[in-house]
């Protein structure tokens, strides 16, 4: 907490009675935003699937069962098999891990860097802010798909590099949103009060401004995760994302293109998985935004 005599509003965000408040806030969220809660449930399913992929998958995701090629969904192969007899269910389950891995890297590097960049740019103002925003402008004007494509190709096609490439694509928009949130916060009296009590720049940034833009950050991180899952799938669908034979959902759809008539399940299940994950994040993110922003309640 602040050592200053005046209590600053920013400090009030972090309360010592955090656990009970979190529980009651969760209950309130479920009551007020049932759709958001449904989204959270979908996310939970996707996350558990990703974490426990080795336990949930029924077969090795890469193992060929040549005799069972193009098997329709049945009791053994719940989602059917592909041209090499690989179990689609197991591949879809492992695909969740790839998607969340890429999504987590995107948020960890991209959104967090955007947060730091936006925070400093807005607080510093003046020339630094002006030129920082020109850098953001340049990245935003760069066609996102091409940037992700070029970076993945430059860094090498691995799951981690796809995540880093998507982080580079994500940070400018994240920094813009944070910047505008900080711009309005820094005019507030509590910042002035903190400065008057002798708080330094770092203290004001980290202890006062940061907690007050955290809700914006959380909502943005949720959206960035959904976006990362989609873009990763798009890159793999274009044949430049996660390399085969790893079962990225986008790559599975790419492979299904020519065989969709013969084996429709190849095209159906990976797409369904992407939809469930993105739908979950969107529902949850929307509800979270409305829940955290009093002006949007009831919309």
């Amino acid at each position: 907490m602040s050592t200053s005599a005046l209590p600053a509003a920013g400090d009030l965000v972090i309360s010592p009675r955090r656990a009970p408040r979190t529980l009651s806030a969760t209950a309130r969220f479920i009551r007020r935003k049932p759709l958001g809660a449904a989204g959270a449930l979908l996310l939970l399913v996707v996350t558990i699937t990703a974490l426990f992929a080795p336990q949930i998958a029924r077969f090795n995701r890469l193992e060929f069962h040549a005799a069972d090629a193009y098997t329709e969904p049945n009791r053994t192969y719940w989602f059917g098999t592909d041209q090499n007899g690989r179990d689609i269910f197991s591949r879809v389950v492992w695909g969740a891990r790839i998607s969340l891995h890429v999504g987590a890297l995107t948020v960890l590097f991209g959104t967090t860097f955007g947060l730091a960049f936006g925070l400093v740019s807005a607080y510093a103002g003046g020339k630094l802010d002006f030129w920082a925003q020109r850098v953001v402008d340049s990245f935003q004007a760069f066609p996102a798909l091409f940037l992700a494509l070029a970076l993945t190709t430059a860094l090498g096609r691995t799951i981690t590099n796809v995540g880093i490439a998507l982080a580079v694509v994500t940070w400018p928009a994240a920094s813009r949103v944070i910047r505008s949130a900080v711009l309005s916060q820094k005019q507030m009296t509590y910042v002035e009060a903190a400065r008057a009590t002798g708080a330094g720049t770092m203290r004001i940034l980290l202890r006062h401004l940061l907690p007050n833009v955290m809700s914006v950050f959380i909502v943005m991180a949720t959206a960035a995760l959904a976006q990362a899952i989609l873009v990763e799938a798009s890159l793999s669908f274009l044949g430049v994302g996660v390399p085969p034979p790893e079962p990225s959902w986008g790559l599975m759809l790419l492979e299904a293109q020519a065989k969709a008539v013969r084996a429709p399940w190849l095209a159906v299940f990976p797409g369904l998985a992407i939809t469930v994950a993105v739908f979950g994040f969107n529902l949850f993110g929307d509800a979270l935004r409305d829940f955290l922003d009093p002006r949007l309640r009831g919309r």
């Binding site: 004007a141 798909l145 759809l253 299904a256 969709a260 797409g271």
Partner: protein, 347 residues
């Protein structure tokens, strides 16, 4: 000086009279300053994009000279070295950048390292494909999104609203390439025994074939775009419908249609049009997937192939072109905002 008791009683209407005093001259200058400042902001942005694309393309592993000489098999090291020199790939990076940027200023995008063909020519052939796709999709999305967004706001929290929201949330969550794959590679060949003819016929040369090739990608892409736009239309309409002047319009007995269309929608749709313009720029750079699924020879697919082949000049040219269109569209929207909405102009 004595001031008139009736400020409006001069020989000129108030607005015209105001033009003659110094205050308005200052305001005019402020507007001009804004316009000039806004236009000048383009310069660092475009330079920034050019630096990013130039640096990333130099980071790509592999050698375009080797690729251009058929993968390097049966070619001596000297031949590769000579070819690299011919292409200017051995020049220092600042020299390469300066030469390329100089060409850009003359609107000369150079030649493909792989085919030796003029990139300007490639762009002339391929841009119409992507432009038709993007423009068609945005226009269709507006046709869908404006009425649905307005209806959704007017009937907030009623069945029509829920239905429309479900329709747009589906558009946000469903991956566009999944639906395209299902329709193009499963539904059409399996149940209709038909797929759109591959390639691209220019509409002014063969309109019917063009229609056959384009209606489906435009329809699918248009629906997905409409999801984003409809949500914004709904939310801005909701804001406007709560304004005092709308309550006044209802109170003075205007009919529903007049209030909603003339008073509310006209004010609410400005951000929607902005988004549509920005989305148009985004689509020009993001249509690669649609072009892939429907085998359309647009600029998106062209860039994907060029990145894979390390064909720097092609990637750099298309990125600069798309970025310039994006930046100009944003500029046009910002400036038009002032023209369309007097509140922005006077702010």
């Amino acid at each position: 000086m004595l001031s008139s008791p009736h400020p409006r009683a001069g020989p000129f209407p108030r607005g015209l009279a105001a033009l003659s005093n110094g205050k308005d001259k200052e305001r005019l200058t402020a507007v001009q300053r804004y316009v000039i400042g806004r236009v000048l902001l383009i310069v660092p942005t475009i330079i920034g994009v050019s630096l990013i694309v130039f640096v990333i393309m130099r980071m790509l592993p592999g050698d375009v000279a080797v690729a251009a000489l058929g993968g390097g098999q049966g070619v001596s090291q000297e031949q590769i070295a000579r070819y690299r020199e011919q292409l200017g790939l051995d020049d220092p990076l600042p020299v390469q950048y300066a030469e390329w940027a100089g060409g850009l200023l003359r609107l000369d995008f150079g030649r493909s390292l792989l085919t030796g063909q003029s990139i300007n020519e490639d762009i002339t052939n391929r841009l119409p494909v992507t432009a038709e796709l993007a423009l068609g999709a945005i226009l269709l999305s507006l046709v869908i999104a404006l009425p649905t967004g307005i209806l959704s706001a007017v009937y907030q929290d009623r069945p029509a609203d829920y239905l429309i929201r479900l329709f747009s949330i589906a558009g946000l969550a469903l991956p566009v390439f999944w639906i395209q794959t299902l329709v193009r590679n499963l539904l059409l060949p399996k149940y209709f025994d038909w797929i759109p003819p591959p390639g691209y016929a220019r509409p002014w040369e063969d309109f019917l074939t063009n229609l056959e090739q384009m209606w489906l990608p435009v329809l699918i892409l248009g629906y997905f775009q409409s999801a984003v736009i409809s949500r914004l239309a709904r939310s801005t309409m909701l804001d406007v419908l709560r304004e005092d002047y709308i309550r006044t319009a209802w109170a003075k007995g205007l009919r529903g249609r007049a209030v909603i269309i003339r008073h509310a929608a006209r004010n609410a749709l400005l951000p929607v049009l902005t988004l549509a313009a920005v989305q148009l720029g985004v689509l020009l750079g993001g249509a690669a997937i649609t072009e892939s699924v429907f085998a359309l020879p647009g600029i998106g697919r062209f860039v994907v192939d060029a990145i894979n082949n390390r064909d720097y000049p092609v990637v750099q040219a298309i990125v600069m072109l798309v970025a310039a269109i994006y930046v100009l569209l944003n500029l046009a929207v910002d400036l038009l905002y002032g023209v369309i909405d007097p509140r922005v102009r006077l702010a």
